[in-house]
């Protein structure tokens, strides 16, 4: 049995605590339309979703997560501001032999409120309070600072877009940044490709290569060929500027110290100032809610691998050993973050800042039983 009575009891207690804050309880169907939902997720959840065929409704997916259906319901006519909570199973295929369940309960809390720093602090403090008896290790981050730093680079919009797109894939991001900063040599395959593209007009090269097949048109190929040649002539990102971004990617410190560090580099990287201001307001709001920001762990790169669609504040709560070290092999007990861009995509022109998170009651029950 995947959902034990202990996990169910823990889930109901957490759900009651969320409702006690005044949040509205919401339901979401277990069977969701696959296409719109999966398009919004990263490859990881897409690949792990249970997809099935419905004779009338087409391709459906067993709910892999609540956030998207809750946002959809809110955008279709929720109050502003609004607070929601939910409880129920989610489904994700597990691709490795081990203890991770493919069906498990989530209890979640989502806040749609334009006062972002206060809302961030409200969600985090609520989770921290509920999980306090378990002695967990919290870890926070802020994707918004990274995105602002990328936006501020003195390079072409195309290069910024490429970096922004790969913020959630650190390895490729690093490879791109190394190339754009001139730290990595042009790969031989790219050099050959550029030589070939310079040798004749794209139309002539295409005709020589073979017939036009597929949905991607000759115009699209010609357009990217021109873009590649243009990009080849783009000067590298200046070394000091690139160095600051590398420094930012590796920043890991208690939150107050991280803020001081960011304030220190902001004059050299003015584009991050508004994001750092938001970080500072958030820390003040957290302190007002009793969170010790002098010891709260912060990593600028946190949330880049696991929590795609988060684009601002992110947090996780982990089981830790007595020295406070996190066991990375285990899923976090709770996780959450800000996803403003998602509400803009689902709102079709409207958007509202949103932040939320989930707790895995089965893990809470395990920890209490241990």
């Amino acid at each position: 049995m995947t959902v034990t009575p202990a996990a169910r009891a823990e889930a109901e207690a957490l759900f009651a605590a969320f409702r006690a804050t005044g949040a509205t309880a919401v339901e979401a169907d277990i069977l969701q339309p696959a296409e719109t939902l999966l398009d919004l997720y990263g490859e990881d959840i897409r690949a792990r979703a249970y997809i099935t065929q419905d004779p009338l409704r087409g391709e459906m997916v067993l709910r892999p997560d609540f956030t998207v259906p809750v946002v959809q319901a809110h955008m279709a006519g929720g109050a502003d501001p609004a607070r929601y909570c939910y409880i129920g199973p989610v489904f994700r295929k597990q691709d490795h032999i081990g203890p991770r369940a493919s069906e498990y309960l989530q209890v979640g809390f989502e806040v749609f409120d334009r006062d972002a720093p206060q809302a961030d602090a409200e969600v985090f403090a609520l989770f921290a309070g509920l999980l306090a008896p378990l002695g967990l290790q919290a870890l926070t981050g802020d994707i918004g600072i990274l995105l602002a730093a990328i936006e501020g680079l003195s390079t072409t919009p195309r290069r910024k877009a490429a970096l922004r797109r790969h913020v959630w894939r650190p390895r490729r991001f690093r490879a791109l940044l190394d190339r754009f900063a001139g730290r990595a040599a042009l790969p031989p395959a790219r050099a050959r490709l550029l030589d070939h593209l310079r040798s004749a007009a794209p139309e002539a090269l295409m005709a020589e290569a073979g017939p036009q097949i597929g949905l991607r048109s000759g115009a699209e190929v010609a357009e990217r060929s021109a873009a590649l040649l243009e990009d080849a002539d783009t000067p590298p990102i200046a070394a000091p500027e690139a160095a600051l971004l590398y420094d930012l990617l590796g920043l890991a410190a208690p939150a107050d110290a991280a803020l001081a560090h960011l304030r220190g580099i902001a004059p050299l990287m003015p584009a991050i100032t508004p994001a750092v201001d938001r970080f500072e307001s958030r820390l003040a709001a957290l302190r007002a809610r009793g969170i010790d920001t002098a010891s709260l762990a912060f990593e600028a790169s946190h949330g880049r691998t696991t929590l795609e669609y988060y684009d601002g504040f992110v947090f996780t709560f982990h089981r830790a050993d007595q020295g406070g070290a996190i066991d990375a092999a285990l899923p976090p007990v709770a996780s959450g973050g800000r996803y403003d861009a998602l509400t803009a995509i689902l709102g079709q022109g409207r958007s509202i800042p949103a932040v939320g998170g989930i707790i895995r009651p089965a893990v809470v029950a395990d920890l209490k039983g241990a």
Binding site: E43, A47, H96, I97, F173, G214, L215, R216, G218, R224
Partner: protein
Amino acid sequence: MSLKIGVPSKGRLMEKTFDWFGARGVTMSRNGAEREYSGAVEGIADVELVLLSAGEIPRELAAGRIHLGVTGSDLVRDKLADWNQQVAELAALGFGHADLIIAVPACWIDVETLDDLDAVASAFRARHGFRLRIATKYHRLVRDFLTETGVADYQLVDSQGATEGTVKNLTAEAVADITSTGETLRANHLKILGDAVIHRSQATLFLARAADWGAAETAAMAALAAKLQIATP
């Protein structure tokens, strides 16, 4: 009980497997009528031949219904989660070579590597409103490879045959398939990405870790391993 060994039930893969074992003093043969899927093993005691479709051998190994099996290393890696915890590779048999690769239309003069494919996927999604489609039957291998190499904005679409035709038929923009000479790809106006060899496959002898390994099977395995001159886990 005897040691059950699963072997592809027809074609060159079966013949080459028989040859490989035959060269090592283990004679395999198919019984009676041409269409009957049962066989015999001579030259060693307590070994039973089970003729199966090569595609089903990974599943039979994982379930432990056969002790040994010969199939492509690509199929085992694709069909079994954490394959090396479920089966052990005993010997690469040196035939049935094929590479799992990614290919795109030859007219894509701006694409030579995964880097290019990734950039094209991003532009394609923005232009066409859906993710670039890669047709394949090797979902796990392709997905793991693209995740590892950080390619985004694609989707895998299932294609169980004639995969090279999907681009022309507008059901995919690229394909991930096995090839030995690349001829079918060229005939369908596709070219292979230089850095996208996902797996170099060949026929391989696997051992099922979950099979029933009693005294009789263990003894038969030891005798067989000595004859084949292979190590067992």
